[in-house]
């Protein structure tokens, strides 16, 4: 064998390193636990602590669990030595999630460090604290991040940006808004380093909040070249998404123009005369069509994601969609697009291949056709950087080249294969070469391919042969040259395979025959000679699969031309003779072929063929393999008619009469010739360039296709129109007012009340100038009915304020509680209207006491004295049942009158132009974004005056805050409205029987249960005890409390209240309240059952059960219910 191998094997290294190991941490890694670590950790010397920590890290590195040292390590976070700190941090981050309680001990140290003068200490503290990932400390971290986002040190700000995704990852809904706010601040930073990190935070925290990008778009583009390379990668992607969403695809880019061409023939003619498209034409029409097909598909895949696209395209006619997509184009001259292309083009020179690819992706999608060429050289140059990135870049080039071969066609030499390339890279290059070959380059490429088939890697050689076949499919002119070469090749190849037992060779041969087959199929008639040659070589080709293919060709093209039929008899005889020694697949193919030949046969050959066939069938009947036996008997049965020679004669004479079923059947099975098929549709999955999904060819979690073109613009114009002449006032500072907020709110309620109450009466008893506004009611808010309902509702909600000061207007209440008009007293100290029917009670007037929770939209501090609150109202919108009504009250707390107050969707307020897009706005109303029906403007608000408006919003079940813009005195205040899932339902009146019935239909997976404790009733009970004028029914009080709580937080209908009859006086167990509602969007009923356990005077254990078909919704609703039941109500403090 190889005596040299052993002798020359390299055995050096490892021995010589002893000297170099002195002074390193080698001994720590080798024997991390050869000393007792615990005492070292408690040592007072930093060096010993260091050593202990290093030993722990070594253990971590080696995969041991050393979390039991956690408490001791945590102490060291307070160390003054930065090295100890750093090592402790490393340890802490590794285990913090495992030991949350101990990790909390370190928080104080971090907070101290955050105030350190050394920015490095601040940065480390922030990074580690955020990395600990505990829900409990999230608020603290959030505050810290907010502070650090304004830190003077760039590095600390950068770390703050990096901390945001960590916080976001904890999925705490209440924080999202603040996190997004900080992202906004950091995106605005003047340091490119911070912007880069902020872009990354944006991409992981709120990638769809593109408005945030819109605000800074220009500046972000300009700063892009200065951002760090990693930030550039992310920021490029973000900007691309924004531009697509805002302006859509660009006229004249690849994404657009190719399917335009497909669409209208007239346009195509126009393009052909256009010089910039002529370079596409050299492939001929078929190729062009084929390629444009792919390009169209590419662009659709980018926007929709391939799964959706592929599934849709199989169902729908493609054309219908295209016409729709036409409206998504924007002009080539768009400023935003221009600036993006301008700022990304220097990135093509980046040293970082990821940046190059990201920039190339932008140009590929957005650049006009003539400019796309500029991505070619940089992409090819990146191939030189490292083998790993080479693979990824080639994967992307492959898609580009398939969609637009002309792009890479002149650079075919760069894709020639080196022997050092790995197999994956070789196959990719082959595929690209095959798809970009042109008439001018094919000769050199073929020459190159001929070298490749002699490569020692036979798998690669087989792929090369297959690639030749693909080349010919694209360039039919090359067919004869390639066939000739392939034939010569098979001869030489089969020569070797006679002796060789190597699988690789067989694979190459099979692939070669396959390529020949596919070429012949395109035009069998002109390649008659090739078929003959192949058949002649049958004797020397031993590989079963290859033989089978040739035999198939005999059957398929047996009747073609005039030479093949003449040799058929001989061939069949030969096949019959060697039938016994064939492999399985060849045997089956021989059977098929003989039958096919027989069916097409004429004249005296017929008898010969019959003889051969019966011989073969006979042989097959006794074959060892059951598959062959089955096939034989099957054919024999079918062909009994043909085998019988007299039968054939008869058939000749009386053709139609005697043709029985089996004849028709056999004709169907064997008689039909396969037609030359057009090039196979390209249905690879295509994902965005540079994405992970494109490499692994499935949508990785978190993959998002490009946003729908122009989705942003339409949204902007929708309400932008309405915001055109709005003004707003300036935000001011400071909480000077907050001290008096109690007073404030109280007075606010009262004044609100007075307005509402009076208007509810309809008597025109109006304070202030509120009615004038109402009189002005613009056509968007409809009319009297709305006004009525919301007023009554308001008064209903207002009645809850009775707790504060009995400020009720009875008549307003009555109008709501029309079943019980006489019951005016809603005094809390009195058990109200109880119908005791067996154990079921009803708290009829509970609606009247319901007071939806008030949230602040804008506090007077920030709003220059304008105070805006909102509360969800339980009333149903008359515009669309999908809209949630929100009552917004405006109060002027300043001493000057305010004017032109309006509230609009924030997105819309930015885009004030584009009157032509109004029509588009109607489309988006079905879209997936919250839609806001704007309120009528408040022309003027006197000091101290309060006005209310109803805002109708469609939340689409989004639970993220909705951004609105409030204009006052010409100033704009961004405000946020938090949706409340409790109002995504509306009250659905039903009787208890229906409820139980419905509930029984929603078992199992439609049922969710959680429990919590409810305490609120205790205060209520105690309060009453103090007064103790009347002996109160404790149960009733609890029910009232619970029901009130439920109804003031969600729009539900109280169906029934069940009480335990035989209960002791203090035991509330068994109390059961039922609520019903239906989901606004789907009208699915949503049933809530609350059961209580525990003693009246103690905190109760409340278990809440939700039955609903929409499980996700139900879960969310359940969580919400638990939340508000458990939280103490502020209004009652």
């Amino acid at each position: 064998m190889f005596p040299q191998f052993g002798a020359t094997a390299e055995t050096l290294s490892k021995a010589s390193t002893m000297v170099f190991r002195i002074g390193t941490d080698a001994h720590l890694y080798d024997d991390p636990d050869d000393v007792n670590i615990a005492p070292l950790l408690d040592s007072k010397f930093d060096s010993e602590k260091c050593e202990a920590l290093k030993r722990l890290l070594a253990l971590i590195a080696q995969g041991c669990d050393v979390s039991n040292f956690f408490p001791q390590v945590v102490k060291n976070v307070a160390s003054q030595s930065l090295e100890v700190k750093k090592l402790a941090y490393l340890y802490l981050l590794h285990y913090a999630e495992k030991r949350p309680n101990e990790a909390l001990l370190s928080i104080n140290c971090f907070q101290k460090d955050l105030g350190d003068t050394n920015p490095l200490v601040r940065a480390w503290a922030l990074r580690t604290m955020a990395g600990i990932r505990l829900h409990v400390i999230a608020p603290i971290v959030l505050v810290a991040v907010g502070k650090c986002a304004r830190d003077p040190s760039v590095f600390v700000r950068k770390c703050a940006a990096n901390a945001l995704p960590k916080l976001h990852d904890l999925r705490q809904e209440e924080n999202t808004e603040t996190i997004e706010e900080i992202v906004g601040i950091l995106l605005n930073d003047h340091s490119p380093a911070v912007v880069g990190a902020a872009a990354a935070a944006f991409a992981s925290v709120c990638p769809n909040n593109l408005f945030m990008i819109g605000r800074n778009y220009q500046r972000l583009c300009e700063i892009l070249p200065d951002v760090e390379e990693w930030g550039q990668i992310i920021l490029t992607g973000v900007l691309l998404r924004y531009v697509i969403a805002r302006h859509g695809l660009v006229e004249g880019s690849i994404m657009c123009s190719l399917h335009c061409k497909e669409n209208s023939q007239s346009q195509k003619d126009g393009l052909e005369s256009n010089p910039k498209f002529t370079f596409l034409e050299d492939n001929g029409d078929l190729g062009l069509y084929y390629e444009s097909e792919i390009a169209h598909m590419v662009s659709q895949c980018y926007i929709e994601g391939p799964d959706e696209y592929l599934s849709r395209s199989s169902l729908l006619n493609k054309g219908s969609y295209e016409s729709k997509s036409e409206c998504f184009h924007s002009g080539e001259s768009n400023e935003d697009v221009k600036i993006l292309l301008q700022c990304t083009s220097p990135l093509l020179w980046s040293n970082n291949s990821a940046v190059v690819l990201a920039a190339a992706g932008v140009h590929w999608i957005m650049a006009p056709m003539k400019d796309v060429k500029r991505i070619v050289k940089p992409l090819l140059f990146v191939l030189r950087s490292s083998t790993a990135s080479k693979y990824v870049v080639l994967n992307n080039i492959q898609v580009f080249a398939k969609a637009m071969p002309s792009l890479f066609a002149p650079h075919y030499e760069d894709l020639y294969i080196c022997s050092s390339d790995s197999y994956h890279i070789k196959t990719l290059k082959l595929e690209i070469l095959a798809s970009i070959a042109t008439d001018s380059s094919i000769m050199s490429i073929l020459k190159e391919f001929q070298d490749y088939v002699r490569d020692p890697d036979r798998r690669f050689a087989a792929d090369t042969v297959a690639a030749i076949g693909i080349c010919v499919q694209r360039l039919p002119k090359m067919a004869s040259t390639c066939l000739e070469w392939l034939l010569a090749f098979t001869r030489q190849e089969c020569f070797t395979t006679v002796n060789g037992s190597m699988d690789g060779e067989a694979g190459v041969l099979i692939q070669a025959i396959m390529s020949i087959k596919s070429i012949i199929r395109q035009d069998p008639l002109s390649h008659e000679k090739v078929i003959i040659q192949l058949v002649r070589s049958l004797d020397s080709i031993k590989v079963p699969a290859a033989r089978a293919m040739i035999i198939w060709m005999v059957g398929e093209y047996g009747s073609l031309g005039d030479q093949i039929p003449r040799m058929l008899t001989t061939v069949l005889k030969y096949l019959a003779r060697c039938f016994m020694s064939e492999a399985l697949e060849t045997k089956l193919q021989i059977l098929n072929t003989t039958v096919k030949v027989l069916l097409c046969a004429k004249g005296e050959d017929l008898l010969e063929f019959q003889r051969v066939l019966s011989y073969v069938l006979e042989l097959a009947k006794y074959d060892l393999n059951y598959d062959v036996r089955d096939r034989a008997s099957f054919l024999k049965k079918l062909l009994s008619f043909h085998l019988d020679s007299q039968g054939v004669e008869r058939e000749r004479n009386y053709v139609p009469k005697n043709k029985d079923l089996s004849c028709v059947l056999i004709e169907c099975i064997f008689g039909q010739k396969t037609k030359p098929t057009p090039p196979e549709p390209y249905n690879h999955r295509i994902y965005l360039p540079g994405s992970l999904s494109q490499i692994v060819l499935h949508a990785a979690p978190g993959y998002e296709p490009l946003p729908k073109p122009c989705s942003l613009t339409c949204e902007l114009s929708a309400s932008g129109e309405l915001a055109t002449n709005s003004n707003s006032s300036v935000t001011d500072d400071l909480d000077t007012l907050s001290g008096s907020s109690d007073n404030e709110s109280a007075s606010c309620y009262s004044s609100q009340h007075s307005i509402r109450g009076s208007s509810g009466n309809g008597s025109g008893d109006v304070t202030g100038s509120a009615s004038e506004d109402e009189g002005n009611a613009d056509p968007l808010i409809q009319i009297s009915e709305v006004a009525n309902t919301y007023k009554t509702q308001n008064s209903g909600s207002q009645s809850g304020a009775a707790d504060f000061g009995e400020l009720l207007s009875n008549r307003a209440l009555e109008s709501w509680l029309d079943e019980q008009p006489g019951l005016s007293s809603v005094n809390t100290s009195e058990p109200s209207i109880v119908h005791r029917s067996s154990a079921r009670i009803s708290i009829g007037d509970i609606r009247g006491q319901v007071k939806p929770k008030n949230y602040a939209l804008l506090d007077p501090v920030n709003g220059n004295g304008l105070k805006v609150d909102y509360s969800f109202s339980s009333e149903i919108s008359n515009i669309s049942p999908l809209l949630v009504c929100i009552e917004v009250s405006f109060k002027n707390c300043s001493s000057e009158p305010m004017s032109d107050i309006t509230l609009v969707d924030e997105e819309s307020s930015k885009d004030l132009d584009s009157a032509d897009q109004v029509t588009a706005s109607s489309i988006t109303s079905q879209d997936d974004v919250p839609t806001v029906v704007p309120i009528e403007d408040i022309i003027c608000l006197e000091p101290g005056q309060t006005m209310t408006r109803i805002l109708q919003v469609r939340f689409h079940h989004h639970l993220l805050p909705l951004k609105l813009a409030l204009y006052c005195n010409g100033k704009r205040h961004p405000v946020k409205l938090r949706p409340d899932i409790g109002y995504f339902v509306r009250a659905l009146p039903m009787d208890p029987e229906t409820f139980v019935n419905k509930e029984s239909h929603l078992p199992g997976m439609f049922e969710y249960k959680r429990s919590c404790t409810f305490k609120e009733h205790i205060r209520e009970l105690n309060k009453d005890e103090g007064e103790s004028l009347l002996v109160k029914d404790k149960f009733l009080e609890i029910c009232r409390c619970l029901a009130l709580k439920m109804l003031s937080n969600a729009n539900l209908f109280l169906v029934s209240v069940d009480m335990p009859i035989a209960a002791s006086l203090d035991d509330a167990s068994g109390l059961c309240l039922r609520f019903s509602g239906e989901i606004l969007s789907t009208s699915n009923p949503c049933l809530i059952t609350i059961t209580i356990e525990g003693k009246c005077s103690e905190p109760l254990n409340v278990s809440v059960k939700v039955n609903c078909e929409e499980t996700v919704f139900a879960l969310n609703l359940l969580n919400r219910v638990i939340n508000f039941l458990a939280e103490p109500s502020l209004t009652q403090l």
Binding site: E97, P192, W349, A354, K377, F381, D414, S419, P456
Partner: protein, 415 residues
């Protein structure tokens, strides 16, 4: 974003793990990866992006060490790969070279570096100059100190100024008594000669490497006399784009020390300095091979370190090769290595020998490709010439030096 990085030794042992996010990646993924790698022969032959049942893996292979990163969500794969390459670069810069022992011996530094380089799976500080200021590389002094005193901290206690400056690659407070800048053109020639002896492809991949030691914040401009021959370029972040766009000059504030200013490519060259003529004839189960190497277009400088390397096809059982100049080695993986050195004046180096084919094979049907290596000092074969190097800011006087070297890149001769 990346969730975790593992460093694997060449036997598949996990040397280090560093988790970045709360979504911990279990070590068992490494076992899966190693099995996968073994089933594909070698981790250097694996795809760089692998979808395992639980994670997406990115891997690069450097000097026997596999850098493995995991994620579960969509992210730009090149970003992960480039980052891993950067980690490998920084580590080999810190440790002098890369091998299993060095990593283990300096695992604390590796940990500290990784911690600074990436935060929550997103690269944080990857600029080598800043890293060097934050974490001191191991050197003799620190090693001796740690032996003598038992203490030495390699963690700096101040934040490098550069983190906040607009030139993050340079520390501002540098002082040198003699200011010097050395520019070197390092070129690699990629060429393919096909079986007919035709030069199919020949191009130069070159780098402009600079070693600068200048006081303060220098602003340099470098221009070429024939920039038009450059086919494509890539720049270090310090290069300003505008001057290049308008008149092809490089204007930049250099990092301190040695760095790669730009890389470039010159395509479609016609001349190669060497010729290699392989001849292989096979008959009756044996095969004769002979190789001739000589100078084709004399570049005017001595060509040295000429090597020739090829992989024997798998169907060859044994080989007996000898040469009239230099030494021939056959390594265990059937790689033949012929080191020639310089071409002597009096004779043409040649190698010849016989190969024995696998039994049953009459003739050789697959042929090896010869990879040629050489080095030519003091010449840039692309013909690129540096015109001048100016310093805009003080100190106006400084030393400058230029040199060039050309090596063989992917220089292949097929047979």
């Amino acid at each position: 974003m990346l969730q975790c990085i593992f460093l694997l030794s060449d036997s598949g042992e996990v040397m280090l793990e560093k988790q970045f996010t709360g979504h911990r990646v279990d070590r068992s993924i490494c076992a899966w990866f190693w099995e996968h790698a073994v089933s594909h022969g070698d981790s250097s032959k694996l795809q760089p992006v692998i979808a395992s049942p639980t994670h997406y893996l990115f891997q690069i292979f450097r000097e026997g060490i596999t850098f493995l990163a995991c994620t579960q969500v969509e992210m730009p794969p090149l970003m992960a790969i480039e980052f891993l390459c950067r980690v490998a670069d920084v580590l080999s810069d810190y440790l002098g070279e890369l091998n299993e022992d060095l990593i283990k011996d300096n695992f604390i530094i590796v940990y500290e570096l990784l911690d600074e380089m990436i935060d929550n799976g997103f690269p944080l500080t990857t600029e080598p100059t800043i890293l060097r200021e934050m974490i001191a590389p191991p050197n003799i002094v620190s090693k001796v100190l740690s032996v003598v005193t038992g203490t030495s901290s390699n963690v700096s206690d101040t934040l490098p100024v550069a983190t906040g400056s607009c030139v993050p690659w340079r520390t501002t407070d540098l002082k040198y008594s003699s200011n010097e800048v050395y520019v070197e053109l390092v070129e690699e020639m990629d060429a393919t000669i096909n079986r007919d002896g035709v030069l199919v492809k020949c191009e130069i991949y070159g780098e402009v490497q600079i070693n600068s030691h200048i006081t303060g914040l220098p602003d340099l401009t470098l221009s070429f006399s024939n920039p038009s021959i450059l086919d494509d370029v890539r720049f270090h972040p310090c290069v300003r784009f505008r001057p290049w766009e308008s008149h092809q000059t490089l204007s930049f504030v250099p990092p301190d020390g040695h760095f790669k200013l730009m890389s470039y490519r010159v395509r479609k060259l016609k001349n190669i300095p060497l010729y290699v003529k392989p001849q292989i004839t096979s008959d009756a189960g044996t095969c004769r091979i002979s190789l001739l190497v000589g100078i084709r277009n004399d570049p005017g400088r001595t060509i040295d370190s000429i090597t020739l390397q090829f992989q024997l096809p798998p169907c060859i059982l044994s080989a007996d090769l000898s040469s009239n100049h230099g030494t021939v080695n056959i390594l265990a993986n059937k790689t033949c290595f012929w080191s020639i050195g310089r071409i002597p004046k009096d004779k043409t180096p040649s190698m010849s020998g016989t190969l024995v084919l696998e039994s049953g094979l009459e003739r050789l049907h697959v042929f090896p490709t010869f990879q040629v290596g050489f080095r030519i000092a003091n010449i840039a074969l692309s013909g690129l010439q540096i015109d001048k190097l100016d310093l805009k800011t003080t100190p106006a006087r400084f030393h400058k030096g230029f040199r060039a070297v050309t090596r063989a890149g992917e220089f292949e001769v097929r047979s």
